[in-house]
Symmetry: C2
Subunit: 348 residues, 2 copies
């Protein structure tokens, strides 16, 4: 029997350096774009070292004009043995030292009409195996169909630059990953997500829009087959972030809101906390590998609330958000969404 | 080889009914005591059924005079197979249907000088095994040594009624359980905690005050050996809750506070969220067994905040809380604590 590792090609000799430079450049580009967008807030930077090897560069903007809090991390870490949560997925890495570099960010705007957003791109090496992972997903508090479509369209175009076969896999993968099982909700309207991409093909079994396993992409070879293609994918998707997000902010940033909208935003931010602490593999990986807690938990919102038994009033925008925008949807192709959303968008 | 199960005595024939009545009575007594204390807030009750069997009675007080939120749950649930998190601890239960009943509560006062508190007492049966577990622990936001001592003294007296050997085991067990590994902090000043008490003796290896394993109690037979003694223990400790907590509230409830104290309280409540969602076995059990999410997450605070890199200013009460009151301490016997706390208590 052929082990998966034997089908993985060797990475280029300067793979770590190129991956590091890519994610560092992404961090720089995006921070700079966000400072321009905010016009007031500036990122404060802290660099840190990890006792077990490696370190990072954490940047935080607090109390900006647009961003109540924005955290953008870079890290490059090494260790002797990957934690069980990853070895379960990549048993070939067992007993080997590992290397990982990546950038991740979560932006929490103050105005409830502006969506929270998350991005992460990362690269791993461990003994005979290497892989890329990452993605970006949007979490609105108020439902705007055109924003969801813009975010998805921009990421689809970025995937298409590498292969037109990718988006139809990475889009449902995102819905599946950013899912709160205990709430039966997605975290938001999704985006793209992929993991363990090592050039040997996609083994992911996707789900259809009803959440049933659909084997969307089982074929070996459908996905990027080389290190270079996967590197290009991370670059293309990473660079799509600002064009996917900034126009949404520009369009909504001056909308007036009141206490009702603020309270709903804080309530929904509670779901963000629940996902990150209960289900997110990235957070669990960080805490398991003695990561830098303050940097890992930069993803948590500056303020969040919980309310027992809260229900949005019927036929409200809050109800539309809860019913339609926290379920997997075919945002780009489902025309029926327009009819469902239109009556509410006029309010906003 | 003798299996652990064979050393466990049979429970009385009416064990489930007696355990249910005990925790229902605790819920009633405590809710009634808390309404008297609050003088304004009233509990709203919801009863619910679980599709897989059993149900519960959830009571919530919101926006009371003293309590910003107080949640007091009762549940009685059954299932075909316990989840892996419990089967790891009780492999004898594998393949057997199970029964569990318990009461749990978390109270979040509004005034930052009033501590948050948690209580849980529960009883399990699964095939050949049964066990009791539970405890209560206090999480102050401002450091008052006399409050910590009162809470611990009252629970020690409740344990002593069953056996003078118990408190020295259950106190460090509580410090160990309510521990945030990723912060290197206890959740608060502790109290008592015990689990898997089936009459076969304590197998718990405690830790000393420095957090080193200390084998405080390895001897079989040190702990209650019969179902009746363990039932009496749950009753004695459960009934100690109001006397342990209410006098602290009465003493501090009229203290004036400002924005600084409120912000510190909200920040520390973030730690409460982190513990409950990342480390708490009770929460994980509930989410794994398709529990009622709204009832399980009633423990989360009504409002919480996170701030990157926050540090309390030196020699402040906030620093004393962080440095002394989130580390395991021998509250009842360590006289040196007085010198450390006294300069700050005068401020309060």
């Amino acid at each position: 029997m052929q082990s998966p590792a034997s089908t993985i090609s060797l990475p280029p000799s300067d793979s770590r350096e190129r991956a590091r430079k890519l994610v560092l450049a992404l961090q720089d580009e995006i921070c700079s774009g966000l400072e321009n967008l905010d016009e007031e807030g500036l990122f404060k930077e802290e660099t840190w070292k990890r006792p077990e090897g490696g370190g990072g560069r954490s940047r935080v903007m607090s109390e900006g004009r647009i961003f109540e809090q924005a955290g953008v991390n870079f890290s490059e870490v090494q260790g002797e043995q990957l934690p069980p949560s990853i070895l379960n997925q990549r048993p070939e890495a067992k007993g080997h030292p590992w290397f990982a570099t990546g950038t991740s960010m979560v932006l929490h705007p103050r105005n409830p009409y502006l969506p929270t957003v998350h991005l992460n791109y990362r690269y791993f090496e461990a003994g005979p195996v290497w892989w890329f992972g990452g993605g970006a997903d949007l979490t609105p508090f108020y439902p705007y169909l055109e924003d969801a479509r813009h975010f998805h369209r921009t990421h689809k175009e970025a995937c298409d630059q590498v292969s037109p076969e990718l988006h139809k896999v990475f889009k449902p993968w995102c819905d599946e990953y950013f899912y709160l099982k205990h709430r039966n909700e997605t975290r938001g309207i999704g985006g793209i997500f992929y993991d363990y991409q090592d050039g040997s093909g996609v083994l992911y079994k996707g789900q259809d829009q009803q959440g049933n396993a659909a084997n969307i992409s089982k074929e070996i070879g459908l996905c990027p087959k080389t290190w270079e293609e996967l590197f290009a994918l991370a670059k293309s998707c990473g660079q799509a972030f600002l064009p996917a997000y900034v126009p949404i902010i520009q369009k909504r940033k001056d909308l007036q809101y009141g206490e009702r909208e603020r309270q709903f935003q804080l309530y929904r931010r509670g779901r963000y906390v629940e996902f990150n602490l209960v289900w997110d593999r990235g957070t669990i990986f960080g805490l398991q590998t003695n990561g830098r807690t303050e940097s890992i938990l930069m993803s948590l919102p500056p303020l969040a609330r919980w309310e027992y038994g809260f229900k949005a009033s019927t036929e409200s925008r809050e109800a539309l958000l809860t019913e339609l925008f926290t379920k997997p949807q075919d945002w780009l192709n489902d025309d029926a969404l327009e009819e469902q959303c239109q009556p509410y968008e006029a309010i906003g």
